[in-house]
Amino acid sequence: MMFIVAAISILITMCLALIRAMLGPTVFDRVLALNMFGTKTVLLICAICFLTDRTDFLDLALLYSLMNFIGMVALLRFSHYTSFGEEVS
């Protein structure tokens, strides 16, 4: 029962982050919402693992936290509209 509570609350937070990603006037609001979305997805996967009683899926949550970080760093590196390998000045 407690896993359902955790999963529902994480889904509500994901909806709120999606609203901010759609509304945000600057691009930084959207990137912040994307970061929060990635963290919430990791937590949702952990809650679903415990809900369906198959704890082998926790490796996927580990992979996801790393992918979230890589995606965010790539976004911020390109935020000045430069190409691969140039310095962000």
Partner: protein, 107 residues
Amino acid sequence: MIVLDIISWALIVSGAFFSIVGGIGIIRFPEFFSRLHGGGITDTMGAALILLGLMFQSPNSLVAIKLVMILFFLLVTSPSSCHALSNSALAQGHWPELDTTRKSKNK
């Protein structure tokens, strides 16, 4: 074990509360640098409390160790991303609204 269940319930409910509060904060605050607070609360308090609550329900120790690793990665990478994001915003000329000495590029 009823004690483990009570502890898990308390931790998960407080983690859920902090997540929803962070989500409401990221919508209601007026400008970008205030919204970073909402993101920060969700990334650290919400994630840590929910994962701690799940740790007390794990059937064997391998699951608990995996959850500790996930928590460690989340606590290291998520605030670093937020910090890099705010650095990037400052480098492009957006200043906080309460900073009256400098003019921001925001509207």
